[in-house]
Amino acid sequence: MALKSMRSAINGASAGFRRQRLALFFAAVAAFFLIPWGGLVAGQTSARTGANSPRRELTDEIGRKVEIPREVNRVVSLAPNLTEIVFALGDGNRLAGDTDFCDYPAEALQKPHVGGPVNPNLEEIVALMPDLVLATKSINRRETVNALDRIGLPVYVTGEPHSVEEMISSVEHLGSALGMEESAAMVAKNLRGRLAELDRRLSGAVPRRVLFVVWTDPLISVGRGTFIADALRRAGAESVVDTNEEWPHVSMEDIVRLQPEALVFASAHAGDTQRDIDALRTRPGWKDLDAIQHGNIVVVSEAINRPAPRMVDAIERLAGALHPEAFRSASGTGFSLWQLFFAEANPHRLKPVPHEEACACAR
């Protein structure tokens, strides 16, 4: 259509001026666009074959074939949980860069940042000259992975974890991608051992019916397929929200009807969460919840939101808070976390259990 009308316009023009003008205009525009692009297309093919170090091929968790150097010395992580896993494997020095949201461990904050996980700055990533880029299907965009692919940077993508076990197998996969199979096996063994111990202790316990609060305005909880729902199960709890949706917006009416035994919040800043919860006590809907009236509220570390080894710490603490009786005999101290969180309506007692306290009984 367009071409036909162009031709008819050129043929139909009586003045030579018009034809000449059109031709000149198009020649100039075409030259402007085509010259640099021709050069680029020619240059691109060689960019991929430029690698001279020995390589090996492996398949990542979403089924892509990735060719990575035998020795991976510089890694850029595009997600906070991947950053944590690299540190947990014991070699944070290999991490050349991470995202603005990578806040754990403290060394992660010192690394050069490449922007947010959703819109990282591709130039910054390349400038860090990584041997391998780590991404996850859960937060990173497929477009980012494709773009890095196209310029020849190897990207290992982890899948979206649906259980704590899948998080642990991600640790093992990343261990083999980074050539750190041994430390990955050790980390995995430790985590699995701790989870088995939890299972043993909680074997007789009746699961507590809880509401896991991802967000209060609007109220968002977790669906049954998420790793958080699995973490709750591991900690001897079950979510009152049971849906296929991953991060469902839940109506307050449903929650009042379901009356969870306890509310579980995840927080990095106990003070902020405490203020939020104080505000909820007077809100319609919330104030009708037995859990709010009796102060049955557990605040765990936000590590439970992140599929990384530290998540198991949070699971242990949550289990200790929900089922203190299962841990009392072992620790011998007789203190009750359940009482700490449940018997008291006093908001000032509301704080995450200190790490050592909770883990002392679980380990």
């Binding site: 259509m1 367009a2 071409l3 009308s5 162009m6 008819s8 316009a9 050129i10 001026f17 000449q20 003008r21 059109l22 000149l24 205009f25 198009f26 100039a28 525009v29 075409a30 402007f32 666009f33 085509l34 010259i35 640099p36 692009w37 021709g38 050069g39 680029l40 297309v41 020619a42 240059g43 691109q44 060689s46 960019a47 430029g50 603005d100 940042h113 490449v114 922007g115 947010g116 959703v118 819109n119 990282p120 700055n121 591709l122 130039e123 910054e124 390349v126 400038a127 000259m129 937060i139 965009r141 497929r142 477009e143 980012t144 494709n146 773009a147 196209r150 310029i151 020849g152 991953e246």
Partner: protein, 339 residues
């Protein structure tokens, strides 16, 4: 107004092309890795003669494999949106027409999302879907804007804005009901974003489509001048109004669809640029079309450079930058038009 001569046309376009080249070099220079202008010019020369292999790898990857394709894409998108805006302004005889304001961009976005859902296995599905969506949207808005056989300016704009919000609502519905896999990408793309490179096959399709679309519109530019006086008057002066309108509607929709499928809905470029060009160079469409294409390219290249570098290392979507500049100008034009 001074008559348009070949000499003036070439001088204007040449001058703007030099400006565009300067902004490309500026855009190439700024970013995560700073580069000196002299090196850039030398290296561009090397690439032009096909000796890109002599450049250091990381530097070449960043500047020529990431930055340059993005800039070239920005040129295409800017040129396409500006020419589409200028064409819609002539056809609808409405200075406030713009692919974004008229809902054509949203229609194209909806079309490409629908196409992606229905037939994700075909590579060409997004531009084709975007094209159909753009055509559908402009047809719908055109009929919404007709009252008693005449195009009514206010009704037309309202029709466009309402269509845009209707399409956005459907997009929102599709994104919430369908599996969340592509959601993050979509949200970003909807805001208007150049950070995602397109494949090299697509680059050629965009280039060819852009040249064909602009060429087709340019071939009608003399008729568009006459059409500005009114459809009946243009018919009396020997213009085949139906043909011109068809060519320009289809081409402008094609241009919008190409721009949207490459970069999402970048707003207000098609409004701002033709206005600026009219103020400076006059409203002869034979000059307005090429000058708008070049100025639109300059505008997007500069806006995207700003979006890339304003809060490093985070990147803003370029649509945010153009809307920040464009929305106030739209209101100004609207107020001025009302008086």
């Amino acid at each position: 107004m001074r008559p348009l001569t070949l000499r003036r046309l070439l001088w204007t376009c040449g001058g703007l092309a030099v400006l565009l080249l300067a902004s490309v070099i500026l855009a190439l220079k700024l970013g995560a890795v700073p580069v000196s202008v002299t090196d850039l010019v030398i290296d561009l020369g090397r690439i032009a003669i096909g000796r890109a292999n002599e450049l250091p790898t990381e530097y070449r990857l960043i500047v020529f494999d990431l930055r340059l394709p993005r800039i070239l894409l920005g040129i295409l998108v800017g040129a396409a949106l500006s020419v589409a805006g200028a064409s819609f302004q002539a056809l609808l005889r409405n200075p406030l027409a713009d692919p974004y304001v008229l809902g054509v961009s949203s229609g194209a976005a909806l079309g490409s999302i629908l196409a992606l859902i229905l037939a994700p296995q075909f590579a060409l599905v997004t531009p084709v879907g975007a094209f159909l969506g753009a055509i559908g949207a402009i047809a719908g808005v055109y009929f919404l804007g007709r009252r008693e056989g005449q195009l009514d300016s206010t009704t037309l704009l309202l029709g466009g804005i309402i269509s845009a919000s209707f399409f956005s609502a459907i997009i929102m519905f599709l994104m919430t009901t369908l599996a969340g896999r592509d959601l993050r990408g979509m949200v970003f793309w909807l805001m208007g974003d150049l950070s995602t490179p397109v494949s090299s096959g697509m680059q050629w399709i965009f280039t060819v489509g852009l040249l064909a679309g602009i060429g087709a519109i340019y071939s009608t530019s003399a008729d568009l001048n006459l059409l500005l006086t009114g459809e009946r008057e243009a018919t009396h002066l020997g213009v085949d109004v139906t043909r011109v309108k068809l060519v320009v509607y289809v081409s402008a929709s094609l241009l919008t669809a190409l721009a949207v499928s490459a970069s999402g809905a970048i707003g207000y470029v098609g409004l701002l640029v033709p206005h600026a060009v009219r103020l400076i160079f006059g409203s002869d469409y034979r000059l307005l079309i090429p000058a708008s294409a070049l100025c639109g390219a300059i505008a997007i290249v500069l806006a995207d450079t700003l979006a890339r570098t304003i809060v490093p290392p985070t990147e803003l979507p370029v649509g945010a930058m153009t809307a920040m500049a464009g929305a106030p100008v739209f209101i100004y034009l609207l107020r001025r038009g009302l008086r």
